[in-house]
């Protein structure tokens, strides 16, 4: 109970701090605008030949690695909403990194954490900050998705409100699970460095490394097993029509989040502040 209260106290304070910080606000608004604009463009051109082509391309990307059943499943989703989902997954890792690389390393560098160390558990500090990131990211993501929904309803004929809203909320929740793994990773990286720039550089290297490893694992059969250790490999599984595949992917991504956050807490428990 006490731990939960501490975590929420840190989340509340960090959220306020996050929105006071110009950097966080600019990143979040930029992300929201691009996502909303992309979704709106898809909505506006949905019925044109160019729109059809864009839709096919988008389906192919999102369903990559999936089968025919997956293709059919995705075709039920209004294209602007599918775009919003894909865009969220695409920008989530760098966005999480840019927002969170200095959350802990920044306080270690200025040592302002020393005002907290004797008043709270280190675990609640780390988890409260991670939770603040999750809340901020997904609050804005929901807002951007809702803008896309409104434009889809207004411009694409034949979209039923209830169905579109249902898809939007489902995909938003799935993107939340995907993003949680990266929030965990960035939190871990941020605990490892006292210099924010080094945390940023290490985080960028980690993301590039994960991306490269994912591509190599897809191309080279002999190292395909590596893909099981990469969060990005579970993105398409999240929207599988088969419940077992979707649940397995969600469990794997949440597992990554738990492992990374446990690592962050473990590092904080033993390190000097």
């Amino acid at each position: 109970m006490e731990l939960g209260r501490e975590i929420l106290e840190f989340t509340r304070t960090d959220l306020a701090r996050l929105f006071r910080s110009g950097k966080a606000l600019v990143l979040l608004v930029l992300y929201g605008l691009i996502e909303a604009a992309g979704g709106v463009i898809f909505a506006l051109v949905a019925k044109s030949p160019a729109g059809q082509l864009m839709s096919s391309g988008l389906l192919a990307i999102v369903a990559s690695g999936g089968d025919k059943a997956m293709q059919e499943h995705l075709q039920q989703i209004p294209v602007p909403i599918l775009f919003a989902y894909w865009f969220t997954l695409f920008v989530m890792p760098p966005l999480v990194l840019l927002m969170g690389f200095d959350q802990i390393s920044g306080e270690l560098s200025t040592r302002s954490v020393r005002y907290l160390a004797f008043r709270s558990r280190r675990i609640s500090w780390a988890l409260g900050k991670a939770l603040a990131q999750v809340v901020a990211l997904f609050g804005l993501s929901l807002a951007a998705n809702l803008v896309v929904l409104v434009f889809s309803l207004a411009t694409v004929p034949g979209i039923a409100f209830a169905s579109a809203l249902g898809w939007l909320l489902e995909l938003w929740l799935l993107s939340l699970i995907y993003g949680a793994a990266y929030v965990g990773l960035v939190t871990l990286i941020s605990t490892l460095f006292r210099t924010p720039f080094l945390a940023l550089a290490a985080g960028a290297l980690a993301l590039v490394g994960l991306g490269m490893a994912g591509l190599l694992a897809r191309w080279i059969d002999s190292i395909h097993f590596v893909s099981y250790a990469l969060p990005g490999s579970y993105a398409s599984g999240l929207i599988s029509p088969e419940l077992s595949v979707a649940a397995g992917s969600a469990a794997a991504l949440l597992g990554f989040a738990v492992v990374f956050l446990s690592g962050a807490v473990g590092v904080l428990q033993v390190r000097d502040l």
């Binding site: 200025t110 302002s112 020393r114 008043r119 502040l273």
Partner: protein, 311 residues
């Protein structure tokens, strides 16, 4: 015998190959104002960091109010800490920041706000409630630091690292008066205050006991009177050399020596039998009989002299 407020036994802390604290041991009784003294690199700030839970020790036992600093969060509200070189979060308004610290210390939201406002008033910063911490001057930030360390949730033990560092003389005097007042406000013998500082004059003024550290070890620890030998030695700064045998012959003097380079006469006495004031009177009479010019008299040695002798 009651448990000490702070106990350190065989503390070891390393940074890579460098041993910053090497087996330091000391005990601090409840209600003391205790000084941690030593030259640069003596291990004061590291010892302070271990006590405050910032740094993890490599060996030894440390207890604050019976609690291991590894679980220091269990002392929330009972412990106040003023770190030396920690910056306040720059974008945070002072009032919101102090309220946040108060809530973490276990106060309700309303109580944390009330105590934060009261604390800022006591240090003359009542108009800074909405000011971003990064916009405060060094002196103002130091005073906000004192508020969070000393005025939220009435801590029983306070650890202050260089509390007047960087303050102008007037502000430093105000802070010293503030520390004395806060110490006296505590129940019984008062709150326990540990001060780490380079300012020896300040420590002599504030502290009733101290430890001198050197190269990671405690070389002496005790009351200020014991450390400076105030109760067993008197010193006279003279214009001429005295006839030492006449002073040595005094019944109160157990030993007397004269440093001709410094023109300093030191007379030691048995503290169980004589008071320093009585010894000063007897020695002065002999010196006046010898027509020796006298420039100054002091009980014991200056803390600075003891530090230079021991480190």
């Amino acid at each position: 015998m009651s448990e000490p407020a702070i106990s350190i036994q065989g503390l070891v802390k390393r940074y890579g190959q460098t041993v910053a604290v090497n087996g330091a041991s000391l005990e601090i009784s409840a209600g003391r104002v205790f000084g941690l003294i030593g030259p640069n690199g003596a291990g004061k700030t590291t010892t302070f960091g271990v006590l405050a839970g910032f740094l993890r020790r490599d060996a030894g036992e440390v207890r604050i109010l019976g609690t291991d600093p590894k679980n220091i969060h269990t002392l929330k509200g009972k412990l106040g800490v003023l770190p030396q070189d920690a910056l306040l979060p720059s974008t945070e308004p002072v009032g919101a920041l102090l309220s946040h610290y108060g809530r973490l210390a276990g106060l309700s939201g309303a109580e944390a706000q009330r105590q934060a406002r009261e604390g800022l008033e006591r240090v003359g910063l009542q108009t800074s409630w909405s000011t971003a911490a990064g916009a405060l001057s060094h002196g103002m930030a130091r005073r906000v630091g004192l508020v969070q360390a000393m005025l939220l949730a009435s801590p029983e033990v306070m650890l202050l690292d260089e509390p007047t560092n960087g303050l102008d003389p007037k502000s430093a005097a105000q802070v010293r008066a503030f520390i004395k007042q806060i110490h006296a406000d505590g129940a019984g013998a008062g709150r326990t205050v540990v001060i780490s500082s380079h300012n020896l004059t300040e420590l002599e003024e504030l502290c009733d006991s101290a430890a001198i550290l050197d190269r990671g070890r405690v070389v002496v620890s005790g009351t200020m009177s014991e450390i400076t030998s105030q109760a067993e030695e008197v010193r006279f700064l003279l214009g001429d050399a005295p006839l030492l045998s006449a002073i040595q012959a005094l019944p109160c003097a157990s030993a007397a020596s004269f440093d001709s380079g410094k023109n300093l006469l030191a007379v030691r006495f048995a503290k169980e039998k004589f008071e320093a004031e009585a010894v000063i009177g007897q020695v002065l009479r002999v010196l006046l009989d010898q027509n020796v010019r006298i420039s100054g008299v002091s009980k014991g040695r200056k803390l600075e002299e003891r530090l230079l002798e021991l480190t």
